[in-house]
């Protein structure tokens, strides 16, 4: 019980004292995950919206593959990106391995199927309800996908939250391609894993609290925006 209390108190101290070691890790985590989420969303929303409206041979098979990728283990993504970026890999010349860029790439690959699949579902439901009316006004699939994705923009906020949550909370991929180098590629999840294994629990707990608080704040903002949008736009 004493250990638990001591750990909690030291973690609180780290948080309130704005310990540089803690906040540098938090800043790095945010930088990597926000960038990866932004990249994944910019590709995934477009792709998902198009898949929600377009009809073509092999679409069902493609959707099955896409849905399978939702359960992609993060260490497998890490391994794949590691192979791509390793000295002998096709992207080895970039020299990105064990850098933040490699971590952004790994998280983007990890999150892209989430954004694409959830956007596709959202837009496809909207297409089922409204597609015929847009079609009757002469809107071709590309215009329908843009209009419906825009119309569902507040629902897509949930997709963004899910994507960011997946990115910032994963540990396997960034560990493999980033190497968890102190002061350089160490992020919240890898730091928690390492510090816990070393028995340095206060920093792990403090980082855990920050991680949960971040997700909570983001969800609260998204919920607030959706409520406001519902009142403002119906």
């Amino acid at each position: 019980m004493t250990t638990f209390t001591d750990t909690a108190l030291t973690a609180l101290q780290l948080l309130t004292e704005l310990a540089p070691v803690l906040w540098s890790i938090v800043g790095r985590s945010l930088w990597v995950s926000v960038l990866a989420t932004a990249l994944a969303c910019s590709i995934g929303v477009v792709l998902g919206a198009w898949l929600g409206v377009a009809r073509f041979a092999g679409r069902d098979a493609l959707l099955t593959v896409l849905n399978t990728l939702l359960a992609l283990p993060s260490v497998v993504v890490g391994l794949l990106v590691y192979l791509l970026l390793s000295r002998t890999g096709p992207l080895g010349s970039l020299g990105w391995l064990f850098s933040l860029k490699a971590m952004v790439l790994a998280q983007t690959v990890l999150v892209l199927p989430v954004v694409t699949a959830l956007t596709r579902q959202c837009v496809e439901d909207a297409e089922r309800n409204h597609g015929e009316q847009l079609q009757s006004l002469g809107a071709k699939p590309w215009l329908r996908s843009v209009l419906l994705a825009w119309d569902e923009r507040y629902a897509l906020l949930t997709v963004l939250i899910a994507a960011f949550g997946r990115a910032i909370s994963e540990v396997g991929a960034v560990m493999v391609v980033g190497g968890n180098i102190e002061g350089f590629t160490r992020v919240m999840t890898t730091a928690i894993a390492l510090e816990t294994s070393k028995g340095e629990l206060p920093l792990s707990v403090a980082l855990g609290v920050v991680l949960l608080s971040l997700i909570f704040c983001l969800n609260s903002v998204a919920y607030g925006v959706r409520c406001w949008a519902s009142r403002r736009y119906g």
């Binding site: 309800n129 015929e132 009757s136 006004l137 002469g138 809107a139 215009l143 403002r232 736009y233 119906g234």
Partner: protein, 239 residues
């Protein structure tokens, strides 16, 4: 595009016959109203004409062509409005057309004024009342300057005042030269608007006649029964 001919049109998904041997010829002027009991395929016929569904037999002849060579728009019973302003809900429908931004804006403002929604151009479309929503949907279709306007029970859930406003717009669209083909269950509305009546029952056209003659002397037993309010749901007629 006209005369528009439906020749032996058939729609039978999974062998369940909904429309069969639909034969019809429509001129390019006036308002044609499709009447008939529920479930006889009135809306379906509009959707086939709008190209939203493929027919399973027969063909549609657009003035000697396989595809319509004029614009066509459809307004649904429950109009779909995007989470955008009233203005943007009309303007987007003009984007597929070759118009400049200035032309789109001018046309949008013009139709909004004509349907009495100009003062609400900046408001969110989804917050409009039922009657305003339907007027906006009509404005959106009208803005496209359609040669054929398909209306699926456009006043089904509106009060008499909103219905009157929508009917006024429909008359204006006709005056501008568009052919209007609409469905309704409102016999009063059909009397007020229709130039000719297409009576659909049992999945085929039972009668197509000028409105006055149809209401005064319906020729088919099904139409007579319908007008007297006696038509059972699934009656078998001698064909």
């Amino acid at each position: 595009m006209f005369p528009l001919r439906l020749i032996d049109l058939r729609f039978a998904p999974e062998e369940r016959v909904v429309l069969e041997q639909v034969n019809l010829e429509l001129s390019g002027e006036g308002i044609s109203v499709i009447l008939g009991p529920n479930g006889t395929g009135k809306t379906l016929l509009l959707r086939l004409l709008a190209g939203l569904l493929p027919a399973h037999g027969g063909r549609i002849d657009w003035g000697g062509k396989l595809q319509p060579n004029g614009r066509l728009a459809m307004v649904f019973q429950q109009p779909m409005l995007l989470r955008l302003s009233v203005f943007a809900n009309v303007e987007f429908a003009l984007r597929p057309q070759q118009m400049t931004a200035a032309e789109r804006k001018a046309r949008t403002l013009e139709v909004l004024e004509r349907v009495g929604l100009l003062h609400r151009e900046k408001d969110c479309a989804r917050l409009l009342s039922g009657g305003e929503r339907q007027r906006l949907a009509l404005a959106r279709a009208w803005a496209m300057r359609p040669r054929l306007l398909l209306l699926d029970e456009p006043t089904a859930s509106l009060d008499p005042s909103a219905t009157e406003q929508v009917e006024r717009i429909i008359r204006e669209v006709r005056t501008e030269g568009a052919k209007v083909l609409m469905t309704t269950h409102n016999l009063g509305q059909a009397t007020r608007l229709a130039d000719d009546i297409i009576f659909l029952a049992e999945g085929c056209v039972q009668e197509h006649a000028p409105a006055q003659r149809f209401f005064a002397r319906p020729q088919s037993p099904a139409a007579r029964a319908f007008l007297q309010g006696e038509l059972p749901w699934r009656i078998t007629f001698d064909r």
